[in-house]
Assembly symmetry: C2
Homo-oligomer: 442 residues x 2
């Protein structure tokens, strides 16, 4: 077998000879969600879970960078040359703002993490990739994921060739009985259930939220079954009700939880800064102890070398400016997302009244927070319907089948209300209602 | 086998149950090179190949960001909201500055690349990782690397489980006869030699430079043997003599070359911006054509989602400010590195005179450019000697054995002169001379 055939212009690569992940439709979903809005600029998009931009001022970038250099000079006592080195040069692999992140986690989440256990990553996505790479050693290791699930974790698993197994979820998140069954059947098949990936707060795509009691039960199950938990928490701040639940990491007394965090929704997506709390002890054959964070550092050094110092300067400047209290700094954003979710729910109620719902089976969930809800239609919500929706009705959304381990027929669609104005949400739902009306008429 | 044992404090992970790459000493070299300077702040470091900081002014960051937003508004006609979206939001997976990079490659390298074939990456390192992931499909695919070689490509291969095979090099870079032999023996063993990774200009770590004639021969060999070439070009600008050689990509008429580029040495390492030119055609089973860049996009979306818009804004602003002509903008840097390499060679000549060299076998190469040269001692240049050198003599360098596929005894060390002042280089070599003197006396 040759590496490449040729045509008149030179090398041609058969897709079948490239890495297997590239033939998996899953691998195109992230790009689809990021780029569909560029393809239909005039459509109202309930598609990607992007943060709202209206609260952000370009001019503040300079202020935040100055806050960072002032912090380096005044708080860390760096001279002008050191400040230049910190900003300009290759930096510490695991990051420069790990101490500020630890303080913020203490203030906002009640998580007390040793800064040495924190890895600053190029967005949460790199955190997922390096964590999977470190923890999954061989073909028997299996990653458990709720079904439906976040495409980013599935994609990272595909890129690394990590086997995944779906676990059903209900309105309270991962179903613990189903989780036990999957663990035991995998063990019976000679596999090693290595870790469970979960988004306890307002999951993407479902919008489910795990009750506190189940969080305790999940941690106990993880300890009993010797399972690690990869907790992803991008939306925790954004509650619709006032109930704030402790993260799994805040409740983790047995170091079962690797916590994945992101500043994309709370600060600045364009900075691409996330982090991993990896405080597990790793023991080498010679008895030497390291932190999992130290092992992640080796992998990160071969993926991106280090997170851009410029991005860390911006996020670091924001953290310093807000005294390492992002929950308070995000009060306007929290209110905005809460109101948007309320507007979306009201609009659905208005356009899909009870009588229609009873007749057609149309229904949706009412998440207690986050960016997403799922709407169930009486007919398939597939690419063909999305294409029609975008072209004829000027409204975009995400088919839930994109988020299943198999794309078995699914009538549900994901609606994101995070970066629209209330007016756009109302108009978008009315356009959606026309699409559904026509679908029902057929 | 369980995922983790526990101690009093909770989960403990045996290193042997983590990914195999983590047990490979190679995986610590990048961190070593990035962090040793932090461990010995007072030592003169010939260790990491870092760019010189003296030519950089922190205050210019604001100017470059403004140049970018001005470009978006005036040249691309973006309104204030679009500018904010471009800066703030998740962006196009393959980047925002691909058009400016294409113009710069035309001006500086005579490379005419379709912007659609360019992937903007988080440093060249991410470019290597996603390119290897796309091209290496299975256990039979082998990456050919010169020996000694750049640790970043070896590490990326380890992280992905890609098999590597060493090819010997001489002063002119990769030995083509050896390359043919390795290709044929791999094929005879049922393997697929997929691609060769090479740094034709002033390679890291050796400082070798490939003559133009051999570049043509290598391209012909690649076509004849159906091999791809991964060309990495971080140092091409930095010539000591005035001879500028065309890159392999500039000579590539058959799309055999995937070109890996970086702005770390020519602009700003802290931005972590690199790129891949991947203009090969990929053909799907259904006959659909894409560019290799489109396939890389799928993988990048699962590694970092997109390169930070802030980093792209800074580099984009620099490119706009310098009219997409970095070679001219780098004239002071080119002169600085040229002078430094001259000073290093003069200092070695002064401290290790001909008589001593004849008696002891001490020798070094005289690269025509770049950041590195290799010094051969009459005794092993190993970790123990480096430790002694750092602690007792206040001078750092990199053992060449770090850059071999096996760490078989090597008396050579790599000296980088890129981020020292001429005075530091002279002082550093005199300290090195004392170290060597003591070694000879034993």
């Amino acid at each position: 077998m040759t590496a490449a055939t040729t045509d008149g212009a030179g090398a041609v690569l058969p897709l079948g000879e490239l890495h297997g992940s590239l033939a998996d439709p899953l691998m195109e979903v992230m790009n689809f969600l990021n780029e569909i809005t560029l393809r239909y600029p005039d459509a109202i998009s309930f598609g990607p879970g992007r943060p709202y931009e209206g609260l952000f001022e370009v001019d503040r970038i300079g202020e935040y960078l100055q806050a960072w250099t002032r912090y380096l000079a005044e708080d860390l006592g760096q001279g002008p040359d050191q400040v230049r080195t910190t900003l300009f040069q290759y930096g510490r692999t695991n990051g420069q703002i790990h101490g500020l992140i630890a303080r913020t986690l203490h203030n906002d989440e009640g998580i007390d993490a040793d800064p040495a256990s924190i890895v600053v990553t190029v967005g949460c996505q790199e955190g997922m990739l390096i964590t999977l790479r470190a923890l999954f050693a061989g073909p028997d290791d299996v990653l458990l994921v709720t079904d439906p699930n976040y495409v980013g974790i599935m994609g990272a698993a595909r890129v690394l060739g990590v086997e995944t197994a779906p676990v059903t979820e209900d309105e309270g998140g991962v179903d613990l009985d189903a989780l036990r069954r999957v663990i035991h059947s995998l063990r019976a098949a000679g596999k090693r259930p290595r870790a469970l990936y979960t988004v306890p707060d307002f999951s993407n795509p479902s919008g489910t939220c795990m009750p506190v009691e189940r969080r305790h039960e999940l941690l106990a199950l993880a300890d009993a079954e010797d399972l690690l938990i990869l907790e992803d928490n991008p939306y925790g701040f954004f509650t619709r009700t006032d109930a704030v639940r402790p993260t799994l990491k805040a409740l983790d007394t047995r170091r079962r939880v690797v916590h994945l965090g992101s500043f994309a929704k709370t600060c600045f997506p364009g900075a691409r800064v996330g982090y991993v709390i990896a405080d597990q002890t790793v023991v080498a054959p010679d008895g030497r102890h390291t932190l999992l964070a130290d092992e992640l550092s080796k992998i990160k050094s071969m993926v991106t070398v280090n997170t851009p110092t410029l991005s860390q300067a911006l996020i670091g400047g924001m953290l310093v400016t807000h005294d390492c209290r992002l929950r308070e700094a995000n009060a306007p954003a929290i209110a905005f997302y809460r109101d948007n979710l309320d507007v979306l729910l009201e609009s659905l109620e208005a356009h899909f009244p009870a009588a229609l719902r009873e007749r057609t089976g149309i229904h949706w969930n009412a998440p207690e927070g986050g960016f997403f809800l799922t709407l169930t239609l009486p007919f398939p919500a597939d690419d063909a319907l999305l294409e029609l929706s975008a072209r004829e009705h000027g409204v975009l959304w995400a088919p839930m089948r994109y988020f299943h381990t198999d794309d078995s027929g699914d009538n549900r669609l994901r609606l994101s209300c995070s970066y629209l104005s209330p007016e756009q949400i109302r108009e978008g739902v009315s356009r959606l209602a026309v699409l559904v009306e026509k679908g029902l008429a057929q």
